[in-house]
């Protein structure tokens, strides 16, 4: 395999040439290093965040989906709802009843999520997400009950002011005190603590969306003011062994019938499944990804222009060498190949350094941010091939010039 041999020889030559022109090579390599480490760090961030969110979402029961008045990825201003939202009926118990009656549905509940402050003996939290729900919440959203209990049927029916609070909040408000049985103020109202739970691991909850606690749905509706578009939702669990798609169709049919929607008219509600949530997350991270690719392309471009410059100078510097090689029998292809390998080695070397930096920075981010995954392997593969590719592409012009040199002229070059 003469080409493999030429490749090895080319790599050796490339390192020789780099030693000969240290500053020029260092600048070129630096450009590639920056580009490649940017790709790696961004990729590990994106992957880390994504796997974090996915893990959380998948933690929740895959049998769960939600019915909302209107689905939007950003909260709507309740005072300025668009007409298309305003014409939709607010979700109510009749809707829940209709869904619950469908035979593929295991559970349906009209829940709320309200950002509220929690307070115990002068110790106050910032806004936390308080759920008005029922005993199915942990099954639907993930998380575990650590101590105490959930609501009794009587408490749910009467809307008794009791709360199961999140363990981090408990630690913050109570410190060494035992919170069980204590009365805390939530949004200014008194609630008795009957249990402590741990939310599913997810570091990327926006401020105000961190879990605070869970109260009976009726207690929430009677005690707090909330906005009926963003806060109110119906949580639906499919019967075991029934696919979400099937349960979703059943719920939609039941709701349409109950609301008297004529065939052909659009739904006056939205249904969100986890797949849609994952899709939304996916499209958000893809946008982030595009930004990242744009940023690192600039750095790689700088590296590319650097390699073009260094190769141009290198070809001129080594005109005589090219003449000698041609005199000894090198064909155009062999000369072209030599300089392309050299350019690829130069940027590939930068790529390797960049991968090293990227891995280190990714590992650092992983520990600092508590991400579950480090830099993904594919990003290293992409980075390595991109850097070699940059060298080869930007090396084509100088390498072609070398290949086309006239041997007599090249040998006479001083």
């Amino acid at each position: 395999m003469p080409t493999l041999r030429a490749l090895l020889e080319g790599v050796t030559l490339a390192f020789d040439a780099m030693r000969g022109a240290k500053l020029r090579s260092a600048l070129t390599v630096l450009g590639v290093v920056i580009g490649v480490s940017t790709v790696m760090v961004m990729a590990s961030l994106v992957e880390g965040i994504k796997s974090q969110i996915f893990a959380t979402v998948e933690n929740a029961s895959p049998q769960t989906f939600y019915v909302v008045r209107f689905f939007s990825s950003v909260p709507l201003n309740p005072d300025r709802l668009p007409a298309e939202v305003r014409i939709r009926k607010v979700l109510d118990e009749r809707d829940v009843e209709a869904i619950r009656r469908a035979d593929v549905i295991r559970h349906a509940g009209l829940w709320v999520q309200i950002p509220l402050r929690m307070e115990f003996r002068g110790e106050r939290s910032q806004n936390l997400m308080v759920y008005g729900a029922d005993n199915m919440l942990l099954e639907a959203q993930g998380g575990t009950l650590l101590r105490g209990r959930f609501f009794s049927t009587a408490e749910l029916a009467a809307g008794t002011p009791v709360v199961v609070i999140e363990t981090e909040v408990a630690d913050r408000l109570f410190g060494r005190l035992d919170p069980m049985g204590e009365v805390i103020r939530i949004g200014g109202k008194s609630f008795t603590i009957i249990g402590i739970y741990q939310k599913p691991a997810n570091i990327f909850q926006p401020p105000g969306a961190e879990d605070g606690g869970i109260v009976p749905a009726r207690a929430a509706k009677e005690n707090f003011r909330y906005d009926e578009t963003n806060s109110l939702f119906i949580t639906v669990l499919a019967e075991r062994g029934i696919s979400v798609a099937e349960a979703k169709d059943a719920a939609i049919t039941a709701l349409r019938v109950s609301r008297g929607i004529r065939p052909g008219d659009p739904n006056s509600f939205d249904v969100i499944t986890q797949d849609q949530i994952l899709d939304t997350i996916d499209s958000l991270t893809s946008a982030f990804f595009l930004v990242m690719i744009a940023l690192s392309s600039v750095a790689l471009l700088v590296g590319g222009i650097g390699v073009m410059a260094i190769m141009t100078v290198s070809v001129t510097d080594r005109t005589r060498e090219i003449g000698v090689r041609k005199a000894l029998g090198a064909t155009r292809r062999e000369i072209l190949w030599q300089f392309l390998v050299e350019a690829g080695t130069l940027t590939g070397f930068g790529g390797l350094l960049g991968i090293g930096f990227g891995l280190a920075a990714g590992a650092l981010l992983k520990t600092v941010l508590g991400l579950q995954s480090g830099p993904p392997l594919w990003s290293a593969v992409v980075a390595a091939s991109a850097s070699v590719g940059i060298g080869v592409v930007f090396g084509i012009i100088p390498a072609t010039r070398a290949a086309r040199m006239d041997p007599v002229e090249a040998l006479r070059y001083e």
Partner: protein, 240 residues
């Protein structure tokens, strides 16, 4: 000798255009060189010696005329075909040695074999053999800047020989060497010729030319004289 001709030139011209002016570096050359000849090409500066060398070495193609090398016409060949011919048939020795400065003597000598596609092991043993033949077995791993001028030219000769070419072409091979070293290098050429190698060298120094067995003198791109040397320098000892 005609049936044994390695080189046959017929009506070779080489013209250059310089600032609209036509320069005839070679103005119609007819020449035959047979197997195991030892030819010196002489002539004043600008007479066309180097141009003729480049044509003979397939580095350059003539403007008109025919050139047969080993019976194959090479005067109309394409670039890459000429590269293959140079690799197999021609061994070049230059005035300025033209070794790759960063490579060891051994790697320099291996280079033509790299382009011939020879395997690494065979490449190495043949390069070692060629270096031993020019008396540099001890200096194989030195770089050119660690070698004297004479030693560098020996490395270049080893490199020219390593592919067992039909002709050894040397353009002013002693031009950058002192007289003692020149004699040493000319002795190497004499030995190679005695072993059967065809040698063509360009020189403007008459005493160097006297090592050859035939002297062709160029003037204004034409052959002025073509004579045999009665008693070549060093020939007796080499042949004996």
């Amino acid at each position: 000798m005609t049936d044994q001709a390695i080189i046959r030139l017929a009506g070779i011209t080489r013209e250059y255009l310089m600032g609209g002016e036509r320069i005839r570096a070679l103005a119609g050359i007819d020449l035959e060189i047979g197997r195991n000849e030892y030819v010196a090409i002489m002539g004043p500066s600008g007479s066309g010696k180097s141009t003729m060398m480049n044509v003979l070495g397939c580095l350059d193609t003539p403007s008109s005329g025919q050139y047969w090398l080993n019976g194959h016409e090479v005067s109309r060949m394409a670039d890459d075909d000429l590269a293959r011919i140079r690799n197999r048939e021609i061994g070049f020795v230059f005035q300025t040695f033209n070794l790759l400065p960063r490579a060891s003597a051994l790697s320099n000598v291996e280079l033509p074999l790299v382009y011939a596609g020879t395997g690494a092991r065979e490449r190495r043993s043949r390069a070692e053999e060629a270096l031993a033949r020019v008396g540099l077995a001890e200096r194989m791993h030195h770089r050119p800047n660690e070698l004297s001028g004479g030693q560098r030219q020996r490395v270049a000769i080893a490199r020219a020989l390593v592919n067992r070419p039909s002709i050894l072409l040397a353009d002013e091979p002693t031009g950058n060497l002192d007289s003692a070293t020149s004699v040493e290098i000319m002795r190497v050429f004499g030995e190679l010729h005695a072993e059967g190698q065809t040698v063509v060298l360009v020189t403007h120094e008459p005493d160097i030319a006297e090592h050859a067995h035939r002297v062709v003198v160029l003037r204004d791109g034409r052959i002025d004289t073509d004579r045999r040397v009665e008693h070549p320098v060093g020939a007796a000892s080499a042949v004996a």
